[in-house]
Symmetry: C2
Subunit: 106 residues, 2 copies
């Protein structure tokens, strides 16, 4: 049971579920309708997403509404930050090359 965010978003079905419930809470049945798989399978995915706190539940009678814990998604963004510095630097370097080329044209 590794159960961290990166392992959670590794599965394409789970990524699709995340996108699906990002804007509005949905029940497992409603979610399953969107995929070619069983409710139980979706239920399993939701358990994994819940365990790593990417998703939160809200019981309403016998129905359970699942919605995205957007804050948790920021952790992926935070991890990307270390590389963002690098690709921004690379971009600046390309920028320099381009402006040098322009100058040479003149």
């Amino acid at each position: 049971m590794r159960r961290d965010i990166f392992q959670a978003i590794a599965d394409p079905t789970r990524r699709a579920i995340i996108t699906l419930i990002a804007l509005q809470a949905m029940t497992p049945n409603a979610i399953a309708d969107n995929f070619h798989t069983t409710r139980q399978s979706v239920s399993k995915h939701l358990r994994i997403l819940t365990e790593c706190e990417l998703v939160k539940q809200e019981q309403q009678g016998r129905e359970i509404y699942y919605s995205l814990e957007v804050e948790k998604m920021k952790e992926i963004d935070k991890w990307l930050n270390q590389f963002r510095k690098i690709w921004e630097t690379r971009f600046n370097q390309l920028d320099k090359v381009l402006s040098t080329m322009k100058k040479q044209k003149k």
Copy 2:
């Protein structure tokens, strides 16, 4: 063989390798020195990272230097974009609440 970026960064060792070679190219042996695993195991991880183009190789005599393909990392950032809109909206809503509280204080 799924081999997409999300599956590639799911493994903690692979994430560590990515961070390690982000700033400077390294050989498999040098990389393996940083982990409690064998060189062959690192070699396997590098193969997976290379296959999904997150990493590029540069042969130098009998040594092979591996370095990060920063551009590819942007694809994760691109996927995050759809959620970025949401969490920015949430932040703005919190902003409104805070400014309302300030007004009420006055």
